[in-house]
Amino acid sequence: MEIKAQTTAQRFLLHADSLFQRAAYNDAAIAFERAIYAAETDMELYHYALLQKAYTYKATGNFTKAFNTLQRTDAATMPDSLRGVVKYETVLNAYLAGMFKEAEFELLQLEHQYPNDTAQINELLFLKILVQNELQQWDNAKQSFEKYLALHHLPPSVAEDYYAFIKNPRLRNPEKARTLSTFMPGVGQIYGGNIGQGLISLGLQLGLLGFGAYNIWQGYYITGFASGLALFQAFYFGGIENAEAATIRKNKEKIARYNGRVRFFVLEVEGGE
């Protein structure tokens, strides 16, 4: 009976593999699920089919689904031959799906459960750097990067260059930008690195204030008050909000630039192998 069930599952698997090779990914995903369903006690086939199903999702850019499919694997019953590749794909898909916390967890789990599996730990080192970068754990990322450089016989000075920003990441405090703009319109934006926006904000507020004051001086009290002062206060409070939002945006840009440089380097090395 068991032999018969296995042959059914294997038949499904063969069919799924052929669909995958023909790049019929949607059909292949269901076909692999069919093999998973039919696998019963054949744990090797079960895990192989799950891995292949994850590949179909990865091929269509559906990294979250690929990650979730790989989460269905069971470490206790998975054959050792698949363990490495399943772990690799799990971390990779988590990273590609933007699930950096999950990727970090998978990496920590690997180092904790298989501290002697240096081959796999080294293989995943480049992803570890990228994940730690995204989580802004730059000190850890630098350490990983130094290990990575040593592993690829590259000069350690590269790490100092690529992580030079740690000493002064020039990330600005959005709260401080708010406070600055509250007392000195436009200065919060300039502090956050948005000089143009700061000058425009300052100019608008001075202009409106001037217009209001001039009208009141000329005896046009209502116009001075409503067009000058009322609009001034709108831009004043708007400027405070803008100082904070613009600083947050600028910080994100800086982080993306720091990480992007390291990512480009690491992927060049990986691609060159």
């Binding site: 269901i30 699920e33 069919r34 369903y37 209502i222 116009t223």
Partner: protein, 311 residues
């Protein structure tokens, strides 16, 4: 004479006959089992797989498997097989919130199926949700419920919600008069529908014309009348300020001065725009209220279905 001695005694003979009959029957059964048509085995395999997908909440894949099975076996399934397939397919679409394809599948489940009533009720609910009120009522009214008083009351509940959403208050009263409030699965929802009915009756029918007129007298007053007091106050101040500036400039600079023309123009645009906006806000407010009540009605129609049909 020798025959008589060779022949087993009558009691034993009958046992042999019974045994041989049984053996023959078993052989026939096995032969019949071996004669399962390829359609049957395909059907069994795909239904099992589809149910596994449903159980593991892979609804989109389940729907795809059922749809493929449907096209592969068209005209070859017996009635009960077709019923199960349509029901499961409807269930997959229901979970995907594809309400019309789901109704289409549910409505193909025949009267012989144990899932017949569930299918019809769910189909009718989904048609109601999609605002096909007469069609949904038709499905419910055509149901044969026999002696089942729970289902009869469930039908009254569904019909009353249907007509309430359709704003047919007379019909609602007719259905609601039949509510017994005696079934725990329906009691709360019956009360809620009564509540919704009273809320609908209380939704104030205000005139867009009056709102516009009020806003012409005092900018923003029309919005207060429509039931949006904050918006009314928020639109009063800018218009009042613009008006005051226009007045000041005309008064001090003369009507032909550029500033006067600019402020008078700006004031006029906002003033007229606000009148128009106030007239519209009457309808917007009313629709918001209707939408909120309708949402609750649909919720109260849905819950009893899950309670009664146990899913």
């Amino acid at each position: 004479m020798t025959m008589n001695t060779d022949r087993p005694p009558d009691g034993l003979w009958s046992v042999v006959r019974v045994v041989s009959l049984c053996l023959g029957f078993m052989v026939i059964c096995q032969w019949a089992a071996a004669q399962v048509s390829p359609t049957d085995s395909l059907y069994r395999q795909e239904i099992d797989f589809g149910q596994y997908l449903l159980n593991s909440q892979q609804y989109d894949d389940a729907a795809l498997v059922f749809a493929k099975l449907d096209t592969a076996t068209v005209g070859q399934l017996d009635k009960s097989q077709a019923d199960s397939l349509h029901f499961l397919n409807g269930w997959a679409y229901y979970n995907l919130k594809q309400l019309l394809p789901s109704s289409e599948q549910f409505l193909q489940v025949s009267g012989n199926s144990t899932k017949y009533h569930a299918s019809r009720f769910f189909a009718a609910y989904q048609l109601t949700y999609k605002e096909y009120y007469p069609q949904a009522a038709g499905v419910l009214n055509d149901l044969y419920l026999g002696e089942d008083s729970l289902l009869a009351e469930l039908r009254s509940l569904q019909l009353s919600g249907n007509v309430l959403l359709h704003r047919n208050y007379k019909e609602f009263e007719k259905h609601a008069n039949g509510f017994t409030y005696s079934y725990y699965q329906l009691q709360k929802e019956e009360e809620n529908l009564q509540k919704a009915y009273h809320q609908l009756m209380k939704v104030k029918r205000r005139s867009p014309f009056v709102a516009g007129l009020l806003s012409a007298v005092v900018p923003g007053l029309g919005k207060v009348y429509a039931g949006k007091p904050k918006q009314g106050i928020a639109s009063f101040f800018p218009i009042a300020l613009l008006g005051a500036q226009a007045f000041e400039n005309i008064h001090k600079r003369g009507i032909k001065n550029g500033f006067s023309i600019f402020y008078t123009g700006l004031f006029s645009v906002f003033y007229i725009g606000n009148i128009w906006g106030s007239a519209l806000s009457v309808q917007i407010k009313q629709q918001e209220r209707y939408h909120e009540i309708d949402h609750h009605i649909l919720f109260d129609l849905h819950i009893p279905l899950r309670n009664v049909f146990g899913n």
